[in-house]
């Protein structure tokens, strides 16, 4: 038995919850420790003072105020005012997540495909005509950059490349269909969970 034990067991001491052995040990310690003895008597006096505070007079109008408040019609809840501000941010966040999950890989794939396409051709898509050949054809006068043949060839190549790119994208979509499904499912789950939380909240309020 020491001073620390006394401090930690004030509650049981003041509540009379010590075992007879503990009680005897505490008494023995209090007899030889004036600090603890004074401390315990102070706490006991505090407790007695608190117990002596007693009842507080209840204002007479409490019951009347309660009756008046109960008589008033309960204000109707507007579900939109409750749900909209609580759902809008999370709905926006989920939408942005879905879009970014689906857009960024698609964008990266397109870039990779374009790079690959350029490398396959082994030459720039719009091949410039040599300067000495320019101006020979009146149809291209004023443009001064490339011949009609170049343009047609370039257009044809571009069309073919785009077609090929689309085919490859579709193929990529077929090989990775889970990306869209997973992100949509994740978003829907988040929304559903949040919906359940907000609904419980709404019912409680």
């Amino acid at each position: 038995m020491n001073c620390e034990w006394i401090t930690e067991h004030i509650c049981d001491m003041l509540g009379g919850l010590l075992t007879p052995e503990e009680h005897d040990a505490v008494q023995a310690h209090l007899n030889v420790c004036p600090e603890c003895s004074f401390f315990v008597s102070e706490l006991r006096q505090d407790m007695l003072l608190l117990q002596g505070l007693g009842d507080v007079p209840v204002p007479v109008d409490l019951k009347l105020r309660i009756a008046e408040a109960l008589a008033k019609p309960k204000p109707q809840k507007n579900p939109w005012r409750f749900f909209l501000p609580r759902f809008a941010p999370v709905a926006a966040a989920v939408l942005i997540s879905i879009l970014s999950i689906n857009t960024i890989p698609g964008y990266m794939a397109s870039r990779e495909q374009l790079t690959k396409e350029t490398q396959i051709d082994g030459a720039p898509r719009l091949q410039m005509a040599p300067p000495d050949q320019r101006g020979a054809d009146p149809e291209v006068e004023g443009t001064g950059n490339c011949t009609v043949t170049d343009t047609i060839n370039a257009g044809a190549k571009l069309g073919a490349a785009t077609e090929e790119l689309m085919t490859m994208s579709l193929a990529a979509d077929k090989t990775e269909p889970s990306l869209w499904v997973v992100s949509s499912a994740a978003g829907s789950t988040v929304l559903l969970l949040w919906g359940a939380v907000v609904y419980r909240w709404y019912k409680k309020v």
Binding site: T7, G15, L43, L49, L50, V58, I66, A67, A69
Partner: protein
């Protein structure tokens, strides 16, 4: 007028929309609810608002009361939560000050003070006890809300540890430990302040 019915009957009537039955429940519990709200806020204006709010919540939630705990415990749990919510709200809005009567007057306010025969026969003793009560009330107001709540429920209102655990939603060990800390915190506040209570006790001890 105290009810001739027990709580169960009154609750059944309330659930059927009988507001008179609820009035009888208010009669029965208003004193103890008001004790809690006043001790927690230390002013009549807030205590009245919180007591009203507590009873309104009780009325609205009566349908969900399944009788798993005593009705009295359930009411005091609601009152305790209403008080703690309000006090937290006040802390978040520090510009809101307590009403004037909390700064100026004691718990009696404009109400008549009952003086026991023993107190009346010794005015000096009565004055001293009044001062000591004021000190302890101020100290109670200086400890944290959670500490104040267990002190109010245990030492002032005299509820058992089991009842307090049920009201506060904690186990008995936690309540004991919290009460221990609360008593030490209260003592610390009283020691730091002008130790009127201690000197008064010494005088009493010498005198008696």
């Amino acid at each position: 007028m105290l009810s001739a019915y027990d709580d169960g009957e009154l609750i059944s009537k309330c659930k059927q929309g009988d507001t008179d039955a609820f009035g009888q429940l208010v009669d029965k519990y208003q004193q103890r609810v008001y004790n809690i709200t006043f001790r927690m806020t230390n002013n009549h204006e807030d205590a009245l608002d919180l007591a009203q709010e507590s009873f309104l919540r009780v009325y609205r939630a009566l349908a969900s009361f399944k009788g798993e705990s005593a009705f009295s415990t359930w009411i005091f749990r609601i009152a305790s939560n209403v008080c703690l919510d309000k006090l937290r709200q006040k802390k978040r809005q520090p510009h809101i000050v307590l009403s004037m009567d909390s700064l100026m007057a004691g718990e009696e306010g404009d109400y008549p003070i009952e003086i026991s025969a023993g107190e009346a026969s010794n005015p000096e003793q009565h004055l001293l006890q009044g001062e000591m009560r004021r000190e302890i009330r101020q100290a109670l107001n200086a400890v944290s809300d959670e500490h104040r709540l267990v002190l109010v429920l245990r030492d002032i209102e005299g509820y058992s540890y089991e009842e307090i655990a049920d009201m506060v939603g904690a186990n008995i060990g936690t309540i004991k430990s919290r009460l221990n800390r609360a008593r030490l915190a209260l003592r610390e506040v009283l020691t730091v302040r002008e130790p009127l209570t201690s000197s008064a006790r010494l005088r009493e001890q010498k005198g008696g």
